[in-house]
C-alpha cells in the first residue's frame, strides 16, 4: 500500500511539485566553489626549484621563505641530503610569477643573523627566522634553470644598481672588509661591495659602491686612501695628532677620498674606473714619485720625511735597489705635487742628521724623529725626477746671496763644516766645506751672510780662532777666546784689515787662514836662514828689546839649510833693513841669577838689532849676538860690571820703565877682571845720559846674601821680571857734562846702590865681625850711605869697607867724621840699636868738620855723645856708674824730662861723667842749685827698728834705672838762676830727704 492509498477521504488531490527542488543549488554552488578553489590552488602553485646548500641549519620545511626585497617569493617545501651527503638539497616552491626570472644568473643565498665587526646584519632573522634571499635575473636573459647552488654569502653588488661602481687597486688590504664605509669629508657615501685578489697583477681589487646622490663627488683625479683605524702622528714641531675619520672607520676600517685643492677639476668618474688606494692621507696627497739615490751610510729609512724649512714635503716610500758593490741605495719617494716646479737639476737633496759636537747640538729634532732629507730647491735647471742625496748639506752655491770666500790653510785644527766665522766675536757666517787638496793643504770654503758682507775687505786676515788662547810671558798673561762655542768647537775669526779700504772682495776670493790671531797679525813676512834649527819651532818668537814682534810661521828644510818664514807685526816693518842683525837667544840659568826670564819661560827666541840700509827680506840668524858698529845710530856706552850674566845682548835698557836702548854685547874687558857691557842708547834718549848717570842691573832675580841683603825693590815687579839695565839720574846741582861715545860707566848691582851712590868713601875697620856689603851707614838712624863692598887687609885682620854716601850724606865726608860699627845691643837697662837686629848692624856716623876726605878710620867703639843739638845739655859727675846707662830717663817729680845721652870716664879718670840732655821745654826746671841723684832700681831700706821701706821712682827706673833731680824754691829776694849749658853737677847716689819736698813754681812753656 502506498502512502496515497492509505490516506482516506482526501479532499483534494495534491500533486507533488515535480522537478528538482531548489535545494540542489546548494551543493551545486558548493561544488562550483570547490572547483574554483581547486583551480585556484592549481594555478597558484608555484615553480619548484631545488637549491643546494651547504647546510640546512635553520631551514624549516614549510616555514623558511625565500624573499626578495623583503617580500616572500617562495617557501621551502622539502629538505633532503644530497647524494654524496656533502650538501643539502632544499626544494622550494617559488611564486609563479618568478618563474621567468629563475635563470642561471639568479642568485640565492642564505641570510641569517650576522654580528661582526663589519656590521650587524640580519637581526630580523632572529625573530622571523632565517630566510633565503634571492637576487633574480631582472633582464631574464639567462637560461631557465631549476637547480641552483646557493652562494655562501651575499653576492657583490650588481652593476646595474644605480650608483657609482668603481674599483681600487692596492697592495695590502689593511683592515678593510666588505661593507667598510667609503667616506668623503667623513660622510659615508658608499661602501665596499667586494674584495678580490687579482693574481696576475698581484694586487687586491676592492670594489666600491658609491650611492647615486654622492656619485658626482668622485672625480677622475680623486685620490682614495685607507682611513681605517686611528692615525697617530707626531712631530716635535706639530705636536701629536690623533686622527680618525669616523667611528665606523675606526672599528671597521674605511676608505676616504678627496680631491686636491690645487689640481684642476676633472670629470666625474664613471663606472668601472680604477683608482689606487693609498695607505694614508699623507701618501695620498703626495702624488708625485721621484727616485733618490742615497749614499751608503745616509741613515735614511723607509718613511723618512723630506722636509724643507720644517715642512714635510714628502717621504720615502720604499727602497727599490740596494747595491752593495756600488754602495748606493736607490729609494723611491713621493713628493707633494706642489713642489714639482722645484724639482730641477739645480736642486739639491741632502741628509739632515743630528749633529752632536762641542759646538752644540744641531738638528735636535732629528734626534727624535730620525734623520730626514732636506731640499735646497731651485727653479733653474731642467726638471728631473731622479736625484742624488748628499750625506750632508752641500756648500752654498755662489749665487746664494752673501759672500763666498776660499781660505787656504795648512792645518785646519778643529774646524769642521758649519763651524762659525766670527767678526768681533759675533757670528757672521759659517764654513761650508773643507777640502783637502794636499798633505798639508786645505781649502776652507766659508760663507759670510749678506748683511755682514761689508766687514770683509781684501786686506782682512783670517785666523783659526778655536779654543783658548793663552799667551803671554811673565809680564802679560792673557786668555782669549772668541766665544764659548769657538772654545769648544773652533771657529774662524777675521779682522778689518787696513783701515779705509773700499775694496770689497768678490765671491771666490782667496785668503790665507793663519793658525792664530798673533800670527795673523804678523803680516810682514821675510825669510831667515839658519844653520842649526834645533831649538826653533813655528812658535819661536822674534823679539826686539824684550817685545814680541813676530813669530816663525814656517820652517822649510832645504838642502841642509833651514829657512824660516817669519812674520812680524806691521808696525815693526822697519827692522827689515839690510844691516839688521838677527841672532838666536837661549835662556841662561845660573846659580848667581837668572837672566832673561823671557827666554826661560817663553823658550828660545830670535832677537834683532835694527840696522840701516835698504829694505831686505832675507837675513841670516847667528848663534851669538853680533858686534855692533860704533857708527850705528844711538849713543854707545860701555858699562863695567863684575858679573856678565846679568844681561844678554838684546836686553833692553829702560829708564823709568821706558825702553831707551839695548845691550849690544857682553864680553870680558881687556884686563879680564871685569865684564864690559856695550850698550846703545837710542838717539831720542841721548839727552838722558849725563856723567852722573848711574846704571844698575834691573834684571831678574838675584840670589845672594842673607838677612841683611834682602832687597825690596821700589820699582815694580815688572822691572824685576823684565830685567835689563836701568839707569838713574841723581839730583845734583853740579853741572852736567856731555857724555862721549864709548864712555865707561859702572854697572851697579841694584837700584839701591845706584841711588845711594853719592860719593865713594873708604873706611878701615879693625874689627871685621859683622861687616858685610850693603850695610847701611846711618846718622842718627837715617841712612846716608851703603857699603858697596869689603876688601880684607892683606896683612893684619882688618878690612876696608868701600861705601857710598848718598847725596845727602856727601857733606859728612869730612876729615872729622867718625865712623864706627854699631852692633845691636839688647840689655836690661837699655837696648840700643834695636833696628840693627834685623839689619845686622850698621855703621854709625858722627859728622865732623874739616876738609873733605874720603878715607876714614873707624872707631872701635861708638863715641860718646855729650851734647845734643837741642835741649839743655848738662854733665853730672858721679863716683861710679852704677846702673846708669845711656838712654836712662831724667826725671823731675817722676816725670821724664830728659835722658842720659852719654857716659864716660872723666878726663882724669877719677870720676864718671854722665851727660844728660833735658828737653827744651823742661830746661827751665834746672837751676843752679838743683840736685841730681841716681834713682835706679829699688831702694830697699831695712832696719830692725825702722822696718822695711821700698822706694822707687818709676817702673822705668825700676827696670832700667834713671836720674832724678829737684830744684829748691827760690827765696823772695833771690832770683831763679837757670843752669847753663854744659854745667857740671854732682850726681848723688841716693836722694836726700829734703829734696823731694821742694816745690818751686816754675813757669813752663806750652
Amino acid at each position: 500500500m502506498t502512502n496515497k492509498t492509505i490516506l482516506a477521504d482526501s479532499k483534494a488531490i495534491i500533486k507533488d511539485r515535480e522537478g528538482i527542488s531548489a535545494v540542489w543549488l546548494v551543493p551545486i554552488i558548493a561544488l562550483i566553489f570547490g572547483a574554483w578553489l581547486i583551480v585556484k590552488a592549481v594555478s597558484d602553485r608555484g615553480t619548484f626549484i631545488t637549491i643546494q646548500f651547504e647546510s640546512a641549519s635553520g631551514i624549516v620545511v614549510g616555514k623558511t621563505q625565500v624573499r626578495y626585497k623583503g617580500l616572500t617569493a617562495g617557501i621551502v617545501r622539502d629538505v633532503e641530503m644530497s647524494e654524496n651527503l656533502q650538501s643539502v638539497i632544499v626544494e622550494i616552491e617559488m611564486i609563479s610569477s618568478s618563474k621567468k626570472m629563475l635563470t642561471d644568473k639568479t642568485r640565492f643565498w642564505y641570510v641569517t643573523a650576522d654580528v661582526s665587526f663589519q656590521g650587524v646584519t640580519g637581526l630580523d632573522t632572529l625573530l622571523s627566522g632565517s630566510y633565503i634571499n634571492v637576487m633574480p635575473d631582472f633582464e631574464e636573459e639567462g637560461e631557465a634553470k631549476s637547480h641552483f647552488i646557493a652562494l655562501n654569502e651575499e653576492p657583490s653588488l650588481d652593476q646595474a644598481t644605480p650608483g657609482l661602481h668603481i674599483s681600487l687597486k692596492t697592495k695590502t688590504l689593511g683592515s678593510l672588509g666588505k661593507k667598510a664605509p667609503v667616506l668623503f669629508k667623513q660622510i659615508t657615501v658608499g661602501y665596499v661591495a667586494g674584495v678580490n685578489y687579482e693574481e696576475n697583477s698581484d694586487l687586491i681589487n676592492i670594489n666600491l659602491f658609491i650611492e647615486p646622490k654622492y656619485a658626482s663627488l668622485v672625480k677622475e683625479n680623486s685620490r682614495f686612501w685607507n682611513a681605517s683605524g686611528i692615525t697617530v702622528s707626531g712631530s716635535l714641531t706639530s705636536g701629536i695628532k690623533v686622527h680618525t675619520d669616523s667611528l665606523a672607520s675606526v672599528i671597521a676600517g674605511g676608505i676616504a677620498f678627496g680631491n686636491s685643492d690645487f689640481e684642476a677639476e676633472m670629470e666625474h668618474a664613471t663606472n668601472g674606473q680604477s683608482f689606487t688606494l693609498y695607505s694614508d692621507y699623507e701618501t695620498a696627497n703626495m702624488g708625485h714619485e721621484i727616485q733618490l739615490t742615497l749614499n751608503w751610510n745616509s741613515g735614511i729609512d723607509r718613511g723618512a720625511a723630506i722636509m724643507y724649512q720644517g715642512l714635510t714635503l714628502g717621504k720615502i716610500t720604499d727602497f727599490t735597489r740596494i747595491d752593495p758593490l756600488g754602495r748606493i741605495i736607490v729609494a723611491s719617494a713621493i713628493i707633494n705635487p706642489r713642489i714639482i716646479p722645484y724639482l730641477t737639476s739645480d736642486s739639491q737633496f741632502f741628509v739632515v742628521a743630528p749633529k752632536l759636537d762641542l759646538g752644540g747640538i744641531t738638528n735636535l729634532h732629528t734626534l727624535m724623529l730620525g734623520a730626514h732629507i732636506g731640499i735646497r730647491p731651485s727653479v733653474d735647471g731642467e726638471p728631473l725626477n731622479e736625484f742624488n742625496v748628499y750625506n750632508q748639506k752641500p756648500a752654498y752655491q755662489y749665487d746664494e746671496p752673501g759672500l763666498h770666500l776660499v781660505l787656504k790653510a795648512k792645518d785646519v785644527g778643529s774646524l769642521t763644516t758649519s763651524t762659525g766665522v766670527y767678526f768681533k766675536q759675533q757670528k757672521v757666517g759659517d764654513i761650508q766645506a773643507i777640502e783637502n787638496i794636499g798633505p798639508s793643504e786645505f781649502l776652507v770654503h766659508v760663507f759670510i751672510q749678506p748683511k755682514y758682507k761689508h766687514f770683509v775687505s781684501t786686506n782682512s786676515n783670517f785666523w783659526n780662532a778655536g779654543g783658548l788662547r793663552i799667551t803671554g810671558g811673565l809680564q802679560n798673561f792673557s786668555i782669549q777666546a772668541q766665544s764659548l762655542q769657538s772654545v769648544l768647537a773652533g771657529g774662524i775669526a777675521f779682522d778689518l784689515g787696513k783701515e779705509n779700504q773700499d775694496i770689497i772682495p768678490k765671491n771666490g776670493d782667496n785668503f790665507q787662514l793663519f793658525t792664530n790671531k798673533e800670527v795673523a797679525k804678523q803680516r810682514s813676512v821675510f825669510n831667515l836662514h839658519i844653520e842649526n834649527s834645533q831649538s826653533i819651532s813655528t812658535k819661536t818668537r822674534i823679539m826686539l828689546r824684550g817685545e814680541e814682534i813676530g813669530s816663525v810661521h814656517n820652517i822649510i828644510h832645504q838642502q841642509g839649510k833651514t829657512i824660516l818664514q817669519v812674520g812680524v807685526l806691521p808696525n815693526y816693518e822697519f827692522i827689515l833693513r839690510e844691516k839688521s842683525q838677527f841672532w838666536l837667544v837661549n835662556a841662561n840659568l845660573s846659580l848667581s841669577g837668572i837672566t832673561d826670564t823671557d827666554a826661560l819661560f817663553g823658550g828660545a827666541y830670535i832677537s834683532v838689532n835694527v840696522g840701516e840700509g835698504k829694505k831686505a827680506s832675507d837675513f841670516i840668524v847667528t848663534d851669538l849676538p853680533p858686534a855692533k858698529h860704533l857708527s850705528s845710530a844711538g849713543l854707545q856706552l860701555s858699562l863695567t860690571a863684575e858679573q856678565g850674566n846679568v844681561v844678554n845682548p838684546g836686553s833692553p835698557i829702560s829708564f823709568r820703565g821706558v825702553v831707551v836702548g839695548q845691550v849690544d854685547n857682553v864680553s870680558l874687558d881687556k884686563t879680564g877682571i871685569n865684564v864690559a857691557i856695550s850698550i846703545t842708547i837710542d838717539e831720542d834718549y841721548r839727552h838722558l845720559i849725563s856723567n852722573f848717570t848711574r846704571f844698575y842691573n834691573a834684571s831678574g832675580i838675584t840670589l845672594s846674601g842673607g838677612l841683611g841683603n834682602f832687597i825690596l825693590k821700589t820699582e815694580s815687579a815688572d822691572a824685576v821680571l823684565k830685567g835689563g839695565i836701568s839707569f838713574f839720574n841723581p839730583e845734583i846741582q853740579a853741572k852736567q857734562s856731555h857724555v862721549n861715545e864709548g864712555e865707561k860707566f859702572t854697572l851697579f848691582d841694584n837700584i839701591n846702590h845706584a841711588e845711594l851712590a853719592g860719593i865713594a868713601i873708604e873706611i878701615h875697620f879693625n874689627e871685621i865681625s859683622g861687616l858685610k856689603s850693603n850695610l847701611k851707614i846711618k846718622y842718627h838712624d837715617q841712612q846716608v850711605g851703603v857699603v858697596s863692598r869689603i876688601r880684607f887687609d892683606e896683612q893684619g885682620f882688618g878690612a876696608t869697607v868701600y861705601a857710598f854716601l848718598d847725596d845727602n850724606g856727601r857733606k859728612f865726608a869730612v876729615a872729622d867724621s867718625k865712623f864706627w860699627f854699631a852692633k845691636p845691643e839688647l840689655a836690661l837697662v837699655g837696648s840700643t840699636n834695636v833696628s840693627a837686629i834685623l839689619d845686622g848692624g850698621f855703621i854709625g856716623l858722627i859728622p865732623g868738620k874739616g876738609e873733605p876726605s874720603q878715607r876714614f878710620k873707624a872707631k872701635d867703639i861708638a863715641p860718646v855723645l855729650t851734647t845734643l843739638p837741642s835741649g839743655l845739655n848738662l854733665a853730672l859727675s858721679a863716683n861710679s856708674l852704677g846702673s846708669v846707662r845711656v838712654g836712662n830717663p831724667v826725671l823731675y817729680r817722676q816725670v821724664k824730662v830728659g835722658r842720659v845721652i852719654g857716659v864716660d870716664l872723666s878726663s882724669t879718670a877719677d870720676r864718671v861723667n854722665v851727660y844728660i840732655n833735658i828737653f827744651e821745654r823742661y830746661a827751665p826746671l834746672v837751676s843752679q842749685q838743683s840736685k841730681f841723684w841716681n834713682t835706679s832700681g829699688i831702694h830697699i831700706d831695712a832696719g830692725v827698728f825702722s822696718g822695711v821701706s821700698i822706694d822707687s821712682e818709676s817702673i822705668e827706673t825700676l827696670l832700667a834705672g834713671g836720674i832724678a833731680f829737684a830744684t829748691p824754691e827760690v827765696d823772695e829776694n833771690e832770683t831763679f838762676q837757670a843752669a847753663e849749658q854744659g854745667q857740671l853737677f854732682n850726681l848723688a847716689s841716693m836722694v836726700d830727704e829734703e829734696w823731694p819736698t821742694w816745690q818751686p813754681k816754675i813757669e813752663l812753656a806750652q
Binding site: N3, I6, A8, W24, A30, L37
Partner: protein
C-alpha cells in the same frame, strides 16, 4: 502488519505531537492547526543535496588552514590534520584524539552516516531497523556539536590577541568547516527517518515485527 503509524493511517504532528488521522499527505493538525506532512516531502532529495554540499565543503575545510598563529609576527597556519599532527608531535595524544574525533571523524562520519541512511531508505540493507534508527539519532545529535570546534577557533581568535607577540587569526578553513557542519545539520534535519520504516516494511514486509498491535482505542474522532 507494520507498526508504522502511517500504516494505520495516522500521522504525528511535529509540533504538538498529536497523532492525527491522516487523510491527506499534508494536513493541518487537529490540535495545533500546523500544516504537516505525513512524510517529509522530497526528504531524500534534500538530504542528498545537503550532504553533497557538506561533502564538497569538507574538502577545503581540511585543506585550508583553520587558523593562523602569529608568533612574533611569524604566521603559522595549520589545517585540522596538521594541527592534529602537531599535537601528536607535542605528545598531547588525548588532545589530538579529541580533535581528531571532533573535527575529522565526526563530520566525516556524519556525512557517511547520512549517505548510509539515504541508502537505507531506498535499498535493502543489512542494518536492522534498530541500527538505522540509532544511526539517525547519533547523526542528528552530534551534528550541532561539531560547531564546538568552530566556537573554539573563534574564541581563541578573539581571546589570544597579544599583539605582536602572539595572535590568532581565523583562516579560510574555518569557513568551510562551518558550512560543512551547517550543511550536515540541514541534511540531518531534512531526513525523515520514517522513510526508513517505510523502506524496511517494503523490503521486509514478510517480517512481522513482534510489536504490539495497537488498536485505536479512541473511537471517537476528536478532530471534528
Amino acid at each position: 502488519m507494520s507498526n508504522k503509524a502511517l500504516s494505520a493511517g495516522l500521522g504525528n504532528c511535529p509540533q504538538c505531537h498529536k497523532l492525527n488521522v491522516m487523510h491527506t499527505e499534508k494536513q493541518a493538525c487537529s490540535r495545533c492547526k500546523t500544516l504537516f506532512f505525513a512524510r517529509k516531502p522530497k526528504s531524500i532529495e534534500y538530504t542528498l543535496a545537503w550532504t553533497i554540499a557538506a561533502l564538497v565543503m569538507f574538502i577545503p575545510a581540511n585543506i585550508y588552514p583553520m587558523m593562523v598563529f602569529y608568533t612574533l609576527g611569524k604566521p603559522d597556519a595549520s589545517t585540522i590534520l596538521e594541527g592534529i599532527a602537531i599535537f601528536i608531535q607535542l605528545g598531547m595524544l588525548p588532545v589530538a584524539i579529541i580533535i581528531f574525533i571532533a573535527s575529522f571523524v565526526v563530520p566525516l562520519g556524519k556525512i557517511i552516516g547520512l549517505f548510509t541512511l539515504m541508502y537505507s531508505s531506498k535499498k535493502p540493507t543489512k542494518l536492522t531497523l534498530k541500527q538505522q534508527g540509532k544511526l539517525y539519532h547519533i547523526v542528528e545529535f552530534l551534528g550541532p556539536w561539531s560547531m564546538l570546534d568552530v566556537f573554539v577557533v573563534t574564541v581563541m581568535a578573539a581571546v589570544v590577541n597579544l599583539g605582536f607577540l602572539t595572535s590568532i587569526e581565523v583562516a579560510s578553513g574555518i569557513t568551510y568547516f562551518t558550512l560543512m557542519v551547517v550543511f550536515t545539520i540541514f541534511a540531518a534535519e531534512s531526513f525523515d527517518p520514517r522513510l526508513l520504516w517505510d523502506n524496511h516494511q517494503k523490503h521486509n514486509h514478510n517480517t512481522v515485527t513482534p510489536y504490539k498491535e495497537y488498536k485505536n482505542t479512541d473511537d471517537k474522532c476528536h478532530d471534528k
